[in-house]
Symmetry: C2
Subunit: 199 residues, 2 copies
């Protein structure tokens, strides 16, 4: 049996730890970097070091943040009095890039999942409660995913806000724009029907 030389093996092993990368892709990436794009390898190595040392978490919204002042927690964003809770950084980016929403955010970095040991503490809910207690939040917009755990998390979050007399809303779930009813799953259709709007 043949095997890689030690450095090459370590590079392939490290690449395999990226999400969605199996042994074949990792080998392909390693060979590509070594053979055709050493500049990319250099860039990636530098960017990784820079990111590890320079990117932290915003103490307010828990989003990745590399400056003193988080761009998503500015005073201007607080003015609308809206706070949108999302599960992860990618959700925040999707909402901020795809909609006109310009309020504040709170990133859970996960969802309630007691069986996996993820409770309110792990999601930073004490921090969220502190934010709600600051008094400027007039509406809590819950944008967790429509999964079982996401729904449970949404319910928990709603209770937090209601106990403080803060308005709570949940983003709408239904037939996606451009979707065809024929191909939509039953759960989504049922949701769309029960949440129908009067025109």
């Amino acid at each position: 049996m043949s095997s890689y030389s030690p450095r090459l093996q370590r590079l392939i092993d490290a690449l395999r730890r990226l999400p969605g990368v199996g042994p074949k892709s990792a080998q392909r990436m390693a060979f590509h970097l070594l053979d055709r794009d050493r500049e990319a390898a250099q860039l990636l190595g530098g960017a990784l070091g820079e990111a590890l040392s320079g990117i932290g978490r915003c103490p307010q919204c828990r989003m990745f943040c590399e400056d003193e002042s988080c761009r998503y927690c500015s005073a201007a964003r607080s003015q609308a009095g809206q706070l949108c809770v999302v599960e992860g950084p990618a959700d925040l980016m999707a909402i901020d890039a795809g909609t006109s929403y310009r309020g504040r955010y709170f990133v859970l970095m996960g969802r309630l999942s007691p069986l996996d040991g993820i409770g309110p503490e792990e999601l930073g809910l004490p921090q969220l409660e502190a934010l709600l207690d600051q008094g400027w939040v007039q509406e809590l917009i819950i944008a967790t995913n429509p999964t079982v755990e996401g729904e449970a998390t949404a319910y928990y979050l709603a209770e937090l806000a209601k106990s403080r007399q803060i308005r709570v809303s949940r983003i709408a779930h239904g037939v996606p724009m451009g979707g065809e009813l024929e191909y939509i799953d039953g759960g989504t259709l049922a949701h769309a029907l029960s949440d129908r709007r009067v025109l």
Copy 2:
């Protein structure tokens, strides 16, 4: 429009240069590394630096090599008198791991493609000729891919060996083991039929 912070943007851009990684995957990888697996980011950064500084090319077979003596160019491997020519390092690894072949290799790092400016020089064919002139090669096994360019390369390689009275062979192309005739493409079937063996 929202955008990433500078360090995060650089990390995502660097990840996008990996083969098969688009903008969404790059974002997912960056968030995964920063959020859930900083250790992997550190490992990858280290492995990249180590690989760039420590992995070179063997002057004989052109395979990646990190020591003075290439593991694929040992005297023991030369004894069989066989030299197998492959297009890339992954092909070498596949043959060495999947077969019992234990002769020497020569890695072209590409295939002849005059339109892209890849000629004999770029594939190190002068080095290959020097190897063939050393006198120990009794058989040149051509394992380039069965594409148009791979076939052209194979033809060129065969001429090099024939002019030196060295036996040349080409790996067999046909129906893969476990394959079902029904689903095999016509080109492969035609090849399998014309190359049929007397039993």
